[in-house]
């Protein structure tokens, strides 16, 4: 789904680094990304590739030690370097978050109704009673049965899937423009996972919320996303509409990721999944080179001398940062 309307969220050249005892660690380097109204963008990559840091930096949720440059605009308003009070108004109201671990992400000593109501009390100036009533509606909206009873339960009394639905109810309470879902299904069973993704899709359809979904699970991406951003070692290495990416991955890393995940049609036992050798590097500075070169089967001197630009292929909105992109023949990289 490509929408011609102005993006609700514009990330331009976002870089994040953290000072540590052993020197600076660069977590995100020059990430740019648009999120159109009602669009679901998936962000994939291995652990440590900077996807969560990117997500957290959108609403300024990183610790104070983080050094952030670049620009994050919500409906044109700059958020990087914005005042804390301005960011607080954005958080929960315009940009809402769903986190990975629904057990630890909910406060164990407050009822779920209270935790949902809190957002409404802060942003919509609702009374506690009105907020509680609205919480019941929200719980119903995210598919929790007998919401009127569940509103007074504590997180430990709910299952993992229910807890994640509570998280979603909390996130959409104020009808945010952007929902950032950081690994929303990783801690859940596959069946529960499908339910959660359905809830997210419904919310997009009904409320027009734009969703940035972060995951390392390509299955989730294929299921829900309109567009995909592939990150590697803090950089965006490929960006494409979801079908295009799965059919014709351009970057060698994307191709590697795809061939490392099981797909229907390839037979278990006869086809071994291909792994990508090596690990994501931890970088103190971002080199002027392809950061994937050390793990790439196609790397040569060019790759180590200059960082490849994120370039479009044949006028499409499919871009990749690779000196030696895979040919456009479907699924060449995965045998």
């Amino acid at each position: 789904m490509t929408t011609p309307s102005a993006p609700v969220l514009e990330i331009r050249d976002l870089s994040v680094s953290f000072p540590t005892e052993t020197g600076t660690v660069s977590a995100v380097d020059g990430v740019s990304l648009d999120l159109a109204p009602g669009e679901i963008v998936g962000m994939v990559g291995e652990s440590g590739c900077g996807k969560s840091v990117t997500a957290m930096s959108i609403a300024g949720l990183l610790p104070g030690s983080a050094r952030i440059t670049g620009s994050v605009r919500l409906d044109g308003a700059e958020l990087v370097g914005a005042r804390e009070s301005a960011l607080r108004r954005v958080r929960g109201q315009e940009i809402a978050y769903i986190f990975q671990e629904p057990m630890t992400s909910l406060n164990p000593v407050l009822t779920v109704g209270r935790q949902i109501g809190e957002v409404l009390q802060v942003h919509e100036r609702m009374s506690r009673r009105a907020a509680r009533a609205r919480a019941v509606e929200l719980l119903t909206l995210v598919g929790i049965p007998s919401a009127a009873q569940r509103v007074d339960t504590y997180p430990h009394q709910l299952s993992g899937g229910m807890r994640q639905r509570v998280m979603i109810a909390m996130a959409v309470a104020c009808g945010p423009k952007v929902l950032v879902a950081d690994e929303p299904t990783t801690a859940l069973d596959v069946t529960v996972q499908a339910g959660i993704l359905q809830v997210l899709r419904d919310l997009r359809d009904r409320l027009g919320t734009s969703i940035l979904i972060i995951t390392h699970d390509l299955g989730v991406i294929a299921d829900i996303a309109d567009r995909v951003v592939v990150m590697y070692a803090g950089r965006v290495v490929e960006r494409a509409p979801v079908d295009d990416l799965f059919a014709r991955p351009r970057h060698r890393y994307t191709a590697g990721l795809l061939s490392a995940s099981p797909q229907p049609g390839r037979h278990a036992g006869t086809d071994r999944l291909t792994e990508i050798p090596g690990l994501v590097p931890v970088l103190s500075t971002q080199p002027d080179a392809c950061t994937f070169a050390d793990r790439c089967p196609a790397a040569d001197a060019t790759c180590r001398d200059a960082a490849p630009p994120l370039e479009g292929i044949g006028g499409t909105d499919h871009v990749a940062a690779c000196w030696h992109p895979c040919s456009t023949a479907p699924q060449e990289a995965t045998r």
């Binding site: 960011l87 108004r89 958080r91 986190f99 406060n107 164990p108 000593v109 809190e118 957002v119 909390m170």
Partner: protein, 318 residues
């Protein structure tokens, strides 16, 4: 909940019975003969025999114990061997002093300790944390009898801000009562405040880096709400545990503090009784202390379930 309460009450009663036996046997195992202490100059065998008979000390131990429990059940703790006054009337004058001192000390220590602990965690790595840590170290390492003496020296004797000793019952003159008891209470509370501060600080550091605090921030809550409603509420579980465990230390601290400030409380009564081998009084005070312990623990348990719903024991499975 009712079932839980019943079980806990039953356990408490059993503990109380056991402590009664331990106290009774323990006191009699102490070296020294109370009859000798009472006889004074006249230590003829006949006189000693008469004293023993009068106080029931000639009976076999089980009989003495049975009589003791029976009297106690009627609220009769016996008569002080030393002064001849009923122990119960001694308790009614001494107990309020100690209770007031301890409650005040706990309140002061909790307020200071939790406040400083939260501040130290929130302002981590800044001067406020160093100050709080430094004060806690002083509070922990300086024995409070010495601190008490210093306080008397500088705040009472030198400047006359507070009375050095003595006590006025709260019903007689509440203001004067507070004036007399505030200094001992602060001194008694220092160690506890330091422990509470350190526990609060580390518990707060844990909760501040937790996922639910991140969620609270992502909701756009004000820092004050994030700290109190989300982080502190979760940290209090640890704090309550520590306070509960430290109450024993507080009771023994109260004994010393009362001695220093000359407060006519439970502690002074205990020390006097031990030196005089005043069996009925020792039995009463130790038993009462044990009871206080058991009751306090019971309430700490209840408090847990108020703070943490995961500990709440309900009849219906959720």
């Amino acid at each position: 909940m009712a079932r839980y309460l019943l079980t806990r009450a039953w356990q408490s009663a059993l503990t109380l019975l056991l402590s009664t036996i331990v106290v009774f046997v323990g006191v009699r195992a102490l070296p020294g003969d109370p009859a000798l202490a009472l006889a004074g100059e006249d230590r003829s065998p006949e006189a000693l025999e008469a004293i023993r008979r009068h106080y029931g000390l000639d009976q076999p131990l089980p009989v003495q114990f049975a009589q003791y429990v029976e009297r106690m059940a009627q609220g009769d703790f016996g008569v002080s061997i030393r002064t001849g006054t009923p122990v119960s009337s001694m308790l009614t004058t001494a107990l309020p002093v100690t209770v007031e001192l301890s409650v005040l000390a706990i309140l002061i220590a909790s307020a200071l300790g939790v406040g400083a602990g939260v501040l130290a965690a929130v302002r981590r790595g800044r001067p406020a944390e160093w100050l709080a840590n430094g004060l806690a170290l002083v509070g922990l390492s300086v024995p409070h009898f010495w601190l008490g003496l210093l306080a008397i020296l500088y705040l009472s004797v030198a400047t006359g801000l507070f009375p050095a000793s003595g006590f006025v019952p709260i019903l007689e003159d509440p203001v004067d009562n507070l004036h007399h008891i505030i200094l001992p209470a602060v001194i008694l509370g220092t160690g506890l405040a330091a422990i509470i501060m350190r526990q609060t600080r580390s518990a707060m550091l844990d909760s501040l880096s937790s996922d639910y605090v991140r969620t609270a921030k992502a909701k756009g809550l004000r820092p004050r709400a994030v700290i109190t409603r989300h982080a502190l509420r979760n940290s209090l579980i640890v704090v309550v545990t520590v306070v509960g465990l430290q109450l024993g230390g507080l009771i023994s601290g109260a004994v010393v503090t009362e001695q220093i400030f000359g407060l006519p409380g439970f502690g002074k009564m205990t020390i006097d009784a031990v030196f005089q081998r005043d069996y009925p009084v020792i039995q009463a005070v130790v038993l009462l202390t044990a009871t206080a312990y058991i009751v306090i623990n019971f309430f700490v348990d209840l408090l847990y379930s108020v703070i943490d719903p995961r500990i709440r024991v309900t009849g219906d499975p959720a």
